[in-house]
């Protein structure tokens, strides 16, 4: 009786359309410095269209979706020729509905010389969650990749020491995946219990 079924939209207006992660690509001109970045990248890396699956410009930010085999090459070129010296880490996202591309790893990059920001995104399937490690390009990603492995189960090939970093070393499971329960317990009050946040009735 409680809990959400279907869309969970109780407004009566219906039509809560859950948009899947965008699969489209933006078209040129991208606007602001994104065209320069795309052109420089194409110039420095002729096999550009081979490696970059999609280019998305949304809300003033540029996202390059890269094939995982070419990730290290593209990263090296972005760091050396386009001067994106700093990588702000790796962020994992789990989209269980996108079969074949469930796990995404997002790398925000920062160029201090040119004062620019872009984002790299790599998507891998659940049953083959391997991404080459970029620790040799940006050493600061060492712990970030360990955290993404710990939380999502993405294995970074070539990482110098891929172990759990936030959870205890013998923990089973990868907590931030969508199929991992929140793990809360219901709280007992006098005469009532409040269920844990993932089991409460809630609006979506």
């Amino acid at each position: 009786m409680f809990g959400t079924h279907g869309t969970g939209d109780t407004s009566g207006y219906g039509g809560l359309v859950r948009t899947p992660a965008s699969t489209g690509s933006s078209e040129r001109p991208y606007g602001s410095y994104f065209d320069d970045v795309a052109d420089d990248l194409e110039r420095a890396y002729p096999a550009f269209s081979d490696a970059i699956e999609r280019v998305v410009v949304d809300r003033g930010e540029l996202t390059l979706h890269v094939k995982r085999e070419k990730l290290v090459e593209v990263s090296k070129i972005l760091r050396d020729s386009l001067k994106f010296e700093m990588c702000m880490g790796v962020s994992g996202v789990h989209y269980p509905e996108e079969s074949g591309h469930e796990l995404h790893a997002v790398y925000p990059l920062l160029s201090i010389t040119n004062n620019r920001r872009i984002r790299l995104e790599v998507s891998v399937p659940d049953n083959d969650a391997h991404i080459p490690s970029v620790v040799e390009v940006w050493a600061g990603n060492n712990w970030h990749e360990r955290e993404t492995f710990d939380m999502f189960g993405i294995i970074f090939d070539g990482h110098p020491g891929l172990t759990r970093i936030l959870m205890p070393d013998d923990w089973q499971g990868h907590p931030q995946r969508k199929d991992y329960a929140l793990g809360g317990i219901s709280v007992e009050y006098k005469g009532a219990t409040v269920p844990s946040p993932d089991e409460r009735r809630s609006y979506r």
């Binding site: 205890p168 923990w171 793990g183 809360g184 709280v187 007992e188 009050y189 006098k190 005469g191 844990s196």
Partner: protein, 196 residues
Amino acid sequence: MAPRWIGMGLIMGLEEKLPSGFVLTTVEKLAGYMRKNSLWPATFGLACCAIEMMAVGSAAKYDISRFGMEVFRASPRQADLMIVAGRVSNKMAPVLRQIYDQMAAPKWVLAMGACASSGGMFNNYAIVQGVDHVVPVDIYLPGCPPRPEMLMDAILKLHTSIYDEKLGPNREAVIKSVEEAALNALPTHQMKGLLA
């Protein structure tokens, strides 16, 4: 020695006391008085509550050295009170237990903050839902984080309960009766009709 507080009054009433149970009573009060007046906390600051604990320890406004407690002993061997200040994650729980075991008796535990008392707002896979799952707690202090004045109030309440602690056979009797009461108590989920 003019009596200045209750304990002193008892000592002054020496000749009126009966021999049986008399010696044990005053030794208990004396021991309790000594123990509560120089309770040394062990540093177990974990998260946000630790900052409020540091404010109690070092800010001039909320100085706990008036109770003799500003020496936060780093080594648990020299500490009496463990103030668990902050959220205890599953990874930290064995460390917490080891520090507690390394403290020498008599020792007390103050669960500071909502996260230490019950898991607080973090009802999930990573946080122990209350440090009483790991160590026996003597006093719980709610708040997120509790103000320094709240921490001092909890410490003072703990002082009064330490003062009233019994020794020897009296202590065993108290422990037994508390256990009996806990075993026969009504569980929380059966306490109906109290929500109004």
